[in-house]
């Protein structure tokens, strides 16, 4: 009797009764299991369906290797570029007042609002052969669309918000006093940035880089439109997975997909570590 009573009554005015808490927790876990955990497990299950050797063959295939290399290259350019842009934009927004500030903030958020396919399409329209700019570029031997530069630009666009959105509230919260103090003590702008601003945003920056990287490596829609999916030349890992799947080469498809899944798991672990670190520092 007492047990039943305990389950149905709440201990305090700000928590629900145990049964309600359990019900919601199970509901949440159930949803996550269905939508996240099961597919993830399925990827590995399917990847190893034909055995370990088939799995290795799938990921060491020359086209797969070139896809992995290209993914690393694109992320390796896009993420640092976004770090620079992100820090610059956050710095401007958090520390200064200027006209058009709100427009900048809206522009930063735009990639989130735009469908990835459209994000890719805009570059095709802008730089493709049929546009004014594109004709000029081709005349000078520069190829953007259906080539690596296009991949990089599209990826930069799509992953731009991550670093900036992470840093803006952080820098706003930190305010300008430390920087003012540094300037008054005689530091140059650059010295202030390196010695004062950067160390203060360290953890937020790493968090933003982590998210930015995860998206850069996993982006499909925009990159698909811009690259033309030329096997061995302009396929990143996600695009290669699509090609394999369309060729009915399921095991290889899942094998390559498992690389992204491992990336996702590593990202989650690092994210948790950084959350703990920033918690210690008093952020979030």
């Amino acid at each position: 009797m007492k047990l039943i009573n305990n389950i149905f009554t709440s201990r305090s005015s700000t928590t629900e009764a145990p049964i309600i808490r359990w019900a919601f927790t199970l509901l949440g876990l159930g949803f996550l299991t269905l939508v996240v955990a099961m597919p993830l497990i399925a990827v590995f299950f399917e990847a190893f369906r034909k055995g370990y050797d088939a799995y290795i063959a799938g990921i060491t295939d020359p086209y797969a290797i070139s896809a992995i290399k290209l993914t690393l290259l694109v992320a390796g350019i896009a993420v640092p570029l976004n770090v620079v842009f992100g820090i610059a934009a956050s710095w401007a927004i958090a520390k200064f007042e200027f006209r058009g500030k709100h427009i900048l903030i809206t522009l930063i958020d735009m990639p989130f609002a735009v469908s990835p396919v459209i994000s890719g399409l805009i570059y095709v329209l802008l730089f493709g052969i049929h546009s004014v700019l594109g004709a000029w570029l081709v005349a000078h031997g520069v190829q953007i669309i259906f080539a690596v530069p296009g991949l990089v630009i599209a990826t930069v666009f799509v992953t731009f918000p991550f670093v900036a959105r992470e840093l803006i509230p952080l820098m706003q919260e930190q305010g300008t006093e430390e920087e003012e103090a540094a300037i008054l003590l005689g530091a140059t702008g650059w010295q202030t940035f390196i010695r004062i601003t950067l160390p203060n945003i360290k953890w937020g920056l790493l968090y933003g880089v982590l998210l930015c990287n995860a998206r850069a490596m996993g982006e499909f829609g925009a990159v698909s439109v811009v690259s033309g999916s030329i096997k061995g030349e302009t396929t990143t890992i996600p695009l290669h997975v699509e090609i394999l799947y369309n060729e009915y080469n399921f095991v290889a498809a899942f094998a390559v997909a498992s690389i992204l899944s491992i990336l996702a798991l590593v990202t989650l672990v690092l994210k948790r570590v950084l959350e703990i670190k920033t918690g210690v520092k008093g952020k979030h």
Partner: protein
């Protein structure tokens, strides 16, 4: 280093932060910028520092007009919330100004260490040199901030409500400490505060500001004894306001005064030996017959005194309180509140027109008057100001 502030004007959008501000600060002086929130005092301090630029006007330090570059001004600044570098130790914080100097003027590491430890000893924090700001108390952090500002040997020291974020006891200690430090170092200093007690206690001169303008500049005594206008009088301390009339001869009269007719008991003795008789009667506790004289006439009512309408101001300790008015320009009131805690007893009386009078009485006088909540009493300003 002297500071001259010439004709400074500054607006933030539509809000006028500073209007026609002119001020001269002598070398080695400790000046307080005192005023309520929004008076412009912090803006003025930041203009001197070079953190804000005025729309018009200029700042001249030791004869040199200060141009745009903050770095060149060599001012030390202490922020209200310390602005210590969170990720650096106390030592690194204080050494920062020296470490970022250009190669040719940068002292050697040993020289830096020497200087920093000297400064930390000055602020009694040498033992904390390897701690982080998060490990220090508010008072300690503020001392580190001060040491850091002094490390670069500035011409001028500026402090923005330096003790605002600290509790009362620490604030008092640091106030005294800052005064002593200034007496030792004699660096021209300007500090901002909204606490008039602090300004009175620490500063050589006080600049009272309100709504972007300077209301008055003077020593603490000058400001206290001769406030230039009602705003300063009000800001500096509590006050009571009375209505009055200034007659043709320039005499000040309190209006709304009143006093009751007083029934004076006088014992009249017809026989001789009356004194002895009274005495024996007293000893035997025999009540004496009393002859009650006619009550005194009350003073001519207010409309008989003509003149210019004025307001009379008096501080709570300048109010006289009696049970029985001896003369006639008294105002009657009922005691509504007694606060006995402290070296003076603070009472509040309610007048017939509903206004409250605050009076501070010494403990002896309070006891003599035997006042209680609800007692009726009469008040009069002994000393007062007219604006």
């Amino acid at each position: 280093m002297s500071i001259e502030i010439k004709n400074i004007n500054k607006k933030f959008g539509e809000f006028v932060a500073l209007k026609d501000v002119n001020l001269e600060i002598k070398p080695g002086e400790l000046v307080a910028l005192l005023g309520p929130s929004g008076s412009g005092k912090t803006t003025l301090l930041r203009v001197i520092a070079g953190l804000e630029f005025p729309d018009f006007g200029e700042v001249v330090i030791e004869g040199e007009k200060q141009e745009k570059d903050v770095k060149e001004r060599n001012v030390g600044f202490v922020f209200q919330h310390y602005a210590l570098f969170k990720h650096m130790t106390v030592f690194e914080n204080v050494a920062f100004g020296l470490k970022v100097r250009k190669k040719n003027v940068r002292p050697s590491d040993d020289e830096i260490k020497d200087k920093v430890m000297k400064l930390l000893s000055l602020v009694h924090l040498a033992a904390f040199h390897d701690r982080y700001p998060s490990q220090l108390s508010g008072g300690q952090r503020q001392r580190v901030a001060l040491a850091r500002a002094l490390a670069v040997e500035p011409n001028v020291l500026l402090l923005d409500e330096p003790f605002g974020a600290l509790d009362a006891k620490v604030r008092k200690e640091l106030r005294r400490w800052m005064r002593r430090l200034h007496d030792d170092i004699h660096i021209t200093s300007v500090f901002v505060t909204h606490d008039q007690e602090e300004a009175m206690e620490v500063a050589d001169r006080i600049v009272v500001m309100n709504q972007g303008r300077i209301e008055q500049v003077g020593t603490p005594e000058q400001i206290w004894n001769n406030p230039a206008n009602a705003f300063i009088y009000d800001f500096i301390g509590n006050f009571n306001e009375f209505e009055g009339v200034k007659d043709a001869r320039g005499n000040i009269h309190l209006t709304e005064y009143d006093s009751r007719p007083v029934k004076v008991a006088v014992a009249e003795h017809e026989e001789t030996g009356g004194v002895f008789k009274s005495l024996i009667n007293k000893m035997l506790s025999i009540a004496e017959p009393l002859n009650i004289t006619e009550p005194r006439e009350s003073y001519s009512p207010i409309d008989k005194v003509k003149g210019e309408q004025i307001k009379i101001y008096a501080r709570p300790h300048e109010i006289e309180v009696v049970r029985v008015p001896q003369e006639n320009e008294y105002i009657s009131g009922k005691v509504v509140h007694i606060n006995p805690a402290g070296s003076t007893v603070k009472i509040e009386l309610e007048r017939k027109n509903g206004k409250i009078i605050q009076a501070d009485l010494s403990v002896e006088i309070f006891r003599e008057l035997k006042l209680q909540k609800g007692s009726e009493a009469f008040v009069r300003p002994k000393v007062y100001k007219v604006f």
